[in-house]
Amino acid sequence: MASAFLLDMTRCIGCEACVLACKAGNELPVEMQYIELIERTSGTFPNLVGGFENHRCYHCTDAACVAVCPTGALFKEDGLTRLDRDACSGCGYCVQACPYGVPKMVGGRSSKCDACASNVGAGGSPWCVTTCPAQALQFGDREKILAEAKSRVAALKDRYPKVQVYGETQAGGLGLVLVLPDDPETLDIPADPPLVPVTVDVWKHIVQPVSMGATALAAVGAGVLGVIARRNHLAELKELEEQEKAGVAAGGSESTEEER
């Protein structure tokens, strides 16, 4: 079952409570921030449209960051894009690949929202959702979130003629479903984010697995990306693959329990 956030930008009042709740609840070091609010304005005085881009991970189903991540530090779980910072090697591919410009390198490792995996795993909600004074945020089953977004859009047509759901289809469907009062471009959000390049997909799913230890092919893979991968990636990858197997097994048993 996929989970998702609902972010209703007709409600967001730009207070940044989400930003600080995320920092506090996840005990992020002072220089780390998973959410950033960026003021966006279009038009000329006094005919203006304004709002905030709530810049954070969009949790793409076809996640470019996951596709390019050579260590598996970025991975999909419950429809969300997780990041295990301990497994990150700091190559920075995700920073370049993300169509929304979300991951940042902090302290030599990737940094981005993981949808409060630990808190949600313990039966809670993401910290941004629980605090939002505007109740612009919800979190839950993606199908229900999408339905909620659509029903809100229907109810908001009078006030916002261009109101729309964003995230149903983009990047294979987003785990951050937005209710936007206007076209996404007004908030500097791409209407159609570029898909994961085929070359990256090929590298990740065909070249990389086959070429474990095969220097030449690895070099080809690196060449495709235009970046030289670190040598120790290969050793790390092997180790991580073993961990991944354990992880997948555990994940499988969990979902069985849930189905009961």
């Binding site: 930003v19 506090a24 005085f45 203006l48």
Partner: protein, 763 residues
């Protein structure tokens, strides 16, 4: 003399513990089995027992009820307290950063006594015994030489009660002041008292749940991040309520508005008079309500005849059509249509009259005591801790004063002196005006003020004319600074008392006048860090040393609080178990008063006074008129200022998490003006006012979101204190550009939007 062993603080805390707080956190238990396998480190709430304590937030003056979660004696996470009527389980960004505020490495850590010159910031660390004894000696010397009135006490934020209210009244000085009065709320509260017979109250009594139209005049919901107001505003709007925003700037709230009126600064009263004109001439006002509950209507009706929308259009830069349309939108939804009383309303010096004009519109719409309008708030019942009669009653007043302070006769101190701020002469009424106490410190007129206690007020970054304040600080015999951080003025103190933050102390109970009056608990999550002390303990220890033993009879704060709580059938333990809040019944609507034949309006007439005789008797306008404000000279812009959602006043700029999110302010200037001046976004400029005061550098934000005749910046930046790692020298200071203000002749408020600045290069 029964003194508390000062070394006991921490020990006592650990021994007695927190009454009944060894409970697991309500939200999160220890870790569950289904944490993601990919995260080897358990999250904080899975590493030990989560202990929850209840508190009210001190990151801004709004005082949201909070639940504080700690693990192994470490405070980790603060959330809104679900049953609290202010937070309802949610919290703003500043509240979320409370742990970061507490753990700020720049905190004052030990009591200190000055060794260098005033302003040099050279101190030696001393014991509490020495700091308290020395301070007591200095205070008593001032009292002996000049009388108790010669001690001024300035205080702000939630512990200020102990100094600005309690100690001041016991000691006998009428010169206690809060910036929340004359630098903020006085005009709206005096206007309300004159019109309705009661102040607005700290928590504006807006009946949001049924409101159909909200008008904001210079209120910046969203940028002003008061949690409850944001919740209510967004919810009302989502329900379909219309929003009208009057602001020279396309604020966050303006971006949410159905109607934005980009008014010329300083002309709001003209707009309000035109709205009244339309309501009366088009007979859109609530005639039955006015007949029953108001006096002075005929006078008002003849007063506003010439103030047509066409007249106001020429003054306000708005169109007559905009003016008519918006008041009709309000009238169509009355009485569920309210102009929200602003908060910081000391703008142009005629502010009480402007606020009166707002209230007249509201009155004509029939909103007071009506569902979906403005309800009548009620203070919660709670006995005081018994104490002897005060030496002077009602020292400071303001938004957190005990009710009933205002009287016709100014209270006199023990040596027969009234307030030194010029009340009843320079201005008519209202609480002690902080900025009016600075001149007496320099001139000894009307009498010498020789000592100053500053509790939690960032003196040089909140009171206008900071150069004058420094002159006063140089002349005082004694200055005590009580603070959590080495704010700029702390360098000018003789003694520094480092305070424990709200997360580290018990404190006075917070009593909130409300639709459902309520009482909030503050209990410590952890003992005081470093060698700090709660404010109540400092005030008590000083009191015991200056002969005020009778006012500080309690041995422990727990005894004090339990004694008060007994009057509502509770105690600390019960209140903790009840979730840290006690909610009582209110009397919010007109029908509640009609039932027993009473009136909610405590004016001379017992009704809403559209025309005020007291003003006419004082030679002032009984009904508001529009007074033009001075225009900026060529090359200058009017300086406007406001808030960023993650900062409070000049208090939070150094808090690591908040500084990381919003490290410095920017200068909003109309993009076309910036281009004409040759500046682009991000260019760094210095600002200079007409008096030649300079501040900066500040980054230019060239934007379409502001009129061409004004610039805007977030207040509280441009601080100069080397002890503040994150805040020192960041951005520009609006306060340092306030080389003048215009005194409101009614409330004593300091109109601050009368300063003009230009952009310059270099330092």
């Amino acid at each position: 003399m029964a003194r508390v062993d000062l070394q006991i603080t921490r020990r006592q805390f650990l021994a007695t513990g927190l009454a009944g707080t060894a409970l697991a956190g309500t939200g999160m238990g220890p870790g569950r089995s289904n944490l993601s396998m990919r995260y080897p480190d358990p999250p904080w709430f899975a590493t030990g027992e989560v202990v929850t304590t209840y508190n009210y937030c001190d990151m801004c003056p709004w005082k949201c009820g909070i639940a504080v979660q700690s693990v192994d004696g470490k405070v980790i996470k603060i959330d809104g307290n679900a049953p609290d009527p202010k937070s309802r389980g949610r919290l703003c960004g500043r509240g979320q950063a409370g742990v970061s505020f507490m753990n700020d490495p720049d905190r004052l850590q030990s009591p200190m006594i000055r060794t260098g010159e005033r302003g040099e910031g050279k101190f030696r660390e001393v014991t509490w015994e020495e700091a308290l004894d020395y301070t007591a000696e200095k205070l008593l010397a001032i009292k002996d030489q000049y009388g108790p009135e010669s001690l001024a006490i300035f205080g702000h934020t939630s512990g200020d009660f102990w100094f600005t209210d309690y100690f001041a009244q016991a000691w006998g000085t009428p010169n206690a002041a809060k910036p929340s009065s004359a630098l903020c709320l006085s005009p709206r509260d005096e206007a309300s008292t004159l019109t309705f017979g009661h102040a607005v109250g700290g928590h504006e009594p807006m009946d949001w749940e049924e409101m159909q139209c909200i008008t904001l005049i210079g209120s910046h919901i969203g940028e002003d991040a008061r949690n409850t107001v944001m919740q209510d505003f967004v919810e009302a709007r989502a329900r379909g309520a219309q929003v009208i925003v009057v602001d020279p700037r396309f604020s966050t709230a303006a971006a949410k508005a159905d109607y934005w009126l980009p008014i010329k600064p300083g002309t709001d009263t003209a707009l309000l008079l035109a709205w009244i004109n339309v309501l009366i001439t088009e007979e859109r006002y609530d005639r039955a309500y006015i007949d029953q509950w108001a006096t002075g209507f005929d006078e008002l009706a003849s007063h506003i005849q010439e103030f047509t929308p066409e007249w106001a259009a020429g003054i306000t830069d708005l169109s007559a059509d905009q003016i008519r349309t918006t008041i009709r939108v309000m009238a169509d939804r009355s009485p569920q249509a309210v102009i929200m009383p602003g908060r910081h309303v000391t703008w142009y010096g005629n502010d009480t009259q402007r606020m009166r004009a707002e209230y007249l519109v509201n009155s004509l719409l029939g909103v007071y005591g009506r569902h979906g309008g403005m309800y009548f708030n009620k203070s919660p019942f709670l006995d005081s801790y018994p104490h002897p009669p005060f030496a002077v009653h009602g020292s400071s007043g303001g938004c957190s004063a005990e009710p009933g302070e205002e009287s016709d006769v100014l209270p006199l101190g023990p040596s027969g002196k009234a307030r030194a701020d010029g009340a009843r002469e320079a201005f008519l009424r209202g609480p002690t005006a902080m900025q009016e106490l600075i001149d007496p410190m320099i001139t000894d007129d009307p009498y010498r003020i020789a000592g100053l206690i500053v509790y939690g007020t960032n003196l040089l970054n909140s009171v206008p004319m900071p150069n004058r304040t420094i002159e006063a600080l140089k002349k005082l015999d004694f200055v005590l600074a009580v603070d959590v951080l080495p704010q700029e003025h702390v360098a000018w103190a003789d003694v520094v008392f480092p305070e424990a933050t709200y997360l580290e102390r018990y404190d006075q109970l917070s009593t909130v006048p409300h639709k459902t009056p309520f009482i909030q608990l503050r209990e410590p999550a952890v003992p005081p860090m470093y060698d700090t002390m709660p404010g109540w303990m400092m005030a008590r220890e000083l009191g015991l040393r200056v002969g005020l033993d009778a006012f500080f009879k309690w041995e422990t704060i727990e005894e004090y609080l339990n004694t008060r709580l007994r009057s509502v059938g509770s105690n600390l333990e019960k209140m903790h178990e009840a979730g840290g809040v006690i909610i009582q019944e209110g009397k919010p609507y007109l029908e509640d008063f009609e039932a027993d034949g009473g009136t909610p309006f405590h004016t001379p007439s017992g009704k809403i006074e559209l025309s005020v005789a007291e003003l006419a008797e004082a030679g002032l306008d009984s009904i508001p008129v529009y007074e033009p404000t001075e225009e900026p000279p060529d090359g200058y812009y009017r300086l406007l200022y406001g808030r960023a959602p993650v900062h409070t006043f000049a208090k939070t700029q150094n808090t690591p998490d908040l500084s990381a999110v919003y490290p410095e302010n920017e200068l909003w200037i109309n993009e076309d003006e910036a281009v004409a001046l040759g500046y682009a976004n991000g260019d760094r400029v210095w600002l200079e006012n007409e008096a030649g005061d300079r501040t900066g550098p500040i980054a230019v934000k060239a934007t379409q979101r502001i009129r061409k005749d004004a610039v805007f910046m977030v207040h509280g930046f441009g601080q100069q204190s080397s002890g503040l790692t994150n805040a020192n020298g960041k951005g520009a200071s609006d306060t340092k550009l306030m080389s003048r203000y215009k005194l409101d002749p009614i409330s004593g408020g300091a109109g601050l939007r009368v300063n003009f600045v230009r952009l310059t290069e270099g330092g």
